[in-house]
Structure formats: structure tokens, C-alpha cells
Amino acid sequence: MLALVVSIVLMVIDHRFSQLQQLRSALAFVTYPLHFLADLPVTASLWLQEVTATRSHLLEDNSTLRAENLKLRAELQKFATLQAENVRLRNLLDASYKVGDRVLIAELSAVDLDPYKQQVVINKGKASGVYEGQAVLDADAVMGQVIQVTPLSSTVLLITDPSHSIPVQVLRSGLRTIAVGSGRINELNLPYLPTNSDIQLGDQLVTSGLGGKFPPGYPVAKVTRINRSPDNAFAEIVAEPTAHLDRSREVLLVWSVQPETALEAAADTAADEDQPEQEP
């Protein structure tokens, strides 16, 4: 009887307040060995694959990566000049500007969590500076945010979880709204747009940066279905996440650089041009 009461109280506290986060993190650290064990076969097989890869395979890999690197560096050159120009123009306008974001690569642990929640575990934790509420991306787009941190691992809530919402902006028209998770891995809902709003099929949604959790300008989803029925005040809009939520194994953790420090950094780099950029 006591156990029932205690568990109900625990659930209420966990659902309504955030005081239990500490306890949860401590417990999660205790159960980390189990996560590690569950992940071990997959990690081991990947390691084995790497170790036993043939020379020709490696050479082939190497050449494709080299080619890709060259292409990316060429693009980066263009990007650097554009960024400098952007900073200069923003300075002229006296607008705050975010120079860049620091990123860290983490890997997903092969651990299945509750099938009715969209969560994943990654192998970087407090020891690497991960914090709660941090944005998580994959190579293409926004994946979600960190909801729980232990010293060596953390849990990420994906943007498609029904309890997750992300402030977004339509890239074409600049229209701002909120994308809410649907509980299905390939769908986001946009429930707060009026029927006559300027949105079309195929529109790219990017993070708007409002709310402060996600850095602005990262792709989130593409609009795949719009249902404007005249008897509803709001349109029924469904978007498909651009990130490979169910396929990516490597993810990027993002640290936003604060506007003030960014401005100083921009001023610094403007002062001594020969210094290389610190931010990647």
C-alpha cells in the first residue's frame, strides 16, 4: 500500500515539477553499467568491423573522404567570406549577431527505451560539458534536446515526441509558429497556424531561435500535408522532420555562443585579421 502511495506521489512530482531531476540523474548514473552492457554487442561488432576492414576498402574510403573534404573546404571558403560580410553588415545595423556554434560529436547508444516515448541515449555526458536543454542535431537537421544528463551519458528527447514543441519559422515567408511532436517518428504537427496563413507544400521550416533553447537557422522539417478546411479556424499542417531521427548514429551537440561574447569575438577578429578563427 505504502509503495503504491509513494509511486503515485513520485509520478505526480516528476510530472508537475522538476525537483526529481537530481534524483533521476543520480539513479541513472547507478544504472549506467546496464546501458553500457546493452550497448556492448553493437559497439564491439562495429569495432570488429573497423579492425578487420580490408586495405582496399580503407583506401577507397579514404579517397572518397578526401574528395568530400576538398569540396566542403571549398564551400567553407565561400562561407567564411559570407560570414565576415554578415558580421560587418550586422555591426553597421547595430544588431546583435551570433558568430557561430561550438559542436561536439556524440554517438547514440544502442539501447531501447520505452517504445511509447521518442527518446534516445547518447554516449556523452556531464564530463563532456553536456547540459540539460542542449540542442542536438544530426548531419542534416535538428533532432531534439537533452533532457537528462549523467556523468557519462545523456538522454535526448526527439522533436517528434508528443511532449516536445519547437519554435520554428518558415524559411520562405518568415512566418513563425510552433511545431509539436506527433508521437510518430516521421511527423510533426503545426497546430497554431490560421487557415489563411502563408504556407505551402514543401516549405522548409527552420528553428526561429525564440525560446532560447535552439540556435536559430537550423533546418527542422519540410511541410508534407496541408488541410485547410473552411469550417476550422486553424489549418491542419503536417511536416516531416529533415533529420534522420531513426537512422543517424552520430549526433552533434551544439553550444550556442552568447550574442555579447560573439560581438566581442567579432571585434577581436576584426582587430587582428591574421589570427585564425577559434570557432569551427
Partner: protein, 159 residues
Amino acid sequence: MSGRGGWMVLLTFLVALLMMILPMPEWARPFRPQWVSLTLIYWCIALPHRVGVGTGFSLGIALDVLTGTLLGQHALGLSLVAFLAVQLHARIRVFPFWQQALAVLVLLVIEHLFALWVMGATGQAPPGLLYWVIPLIGALLWPWVFVTLRDVRRRFKIS
């Protein structure tokens, strides 16, 4: 959990917890049986004086943390299952396998029902009808779980 063979009981619980988070192919994920509940039911029936509501509660908390559910969701269900199993242990023990499996099915369904209520009360998306296949799979697995754990109990003379 102290005394003869306590560590062995703990080990079976750890294995059960591990099986709850082992990666499975995407199509099989909604069908993962309630390994922890099955193991708990067995030990509640076999050792009702040592394994009970407290064990169920601790296991539930561990499972909640492991699978990232609401803290207390599994604890609630597993405490209840442990309580019922301890109450009914004398009866379930003498049942033949298929009848035991039926009793276990009822316990598993009760646990699932409570989990469903919690999900509903906290505004999560309700799972589909496939959700109710899981206790059925658990009941079908019961004879094997029972025999395996009984062998473990006899081998290590846990009492």
C-alpha cells in the same frame, strides 16, 4: 535480499532489466515481453518471505530510470504485481503450467492497465491495440521462464 543465494536472485533481476533495454529490430520493439515482471512474479511465488512489494518497487524505479518513463510508472505496476503474487503464491504454486500461465496473464494485464492509466493521466499518446499483445506473449513465455528460474533456484539452492 540477504542470505542464501540473494546475489543469484539479484543477478536474474539484472539480466531481466538488461533484456528490457537490449536493442531490438524496429518491428519487434512494440512486442518486447515484460521480462522484469515475469522474473518478479516467479521469485514472489518461489520466495514470498524474501521477495515482495519492496523488491517490486525498487525494480520498478530502476526500470523507470533505465527506460526513461515517468519516475514511478513501472514502480506502481510492479509493486502491485508483487503484492498480488505474494498473496496468491500458495495457490499459483500448485497450478499446472497452463493454469499458472493464465494467472500470470492476469497479473501482467493488471500491470499493463496501470501503465496505460498513467500514460493517459499524463497526456501521452495512447498506444494501439498491439499494446495488449505484450501480456499475452509474456504468458506464453511463462513456462520457459518458470523452468529456467526453477533450475537456477535448485542449482544454487536458493531458499
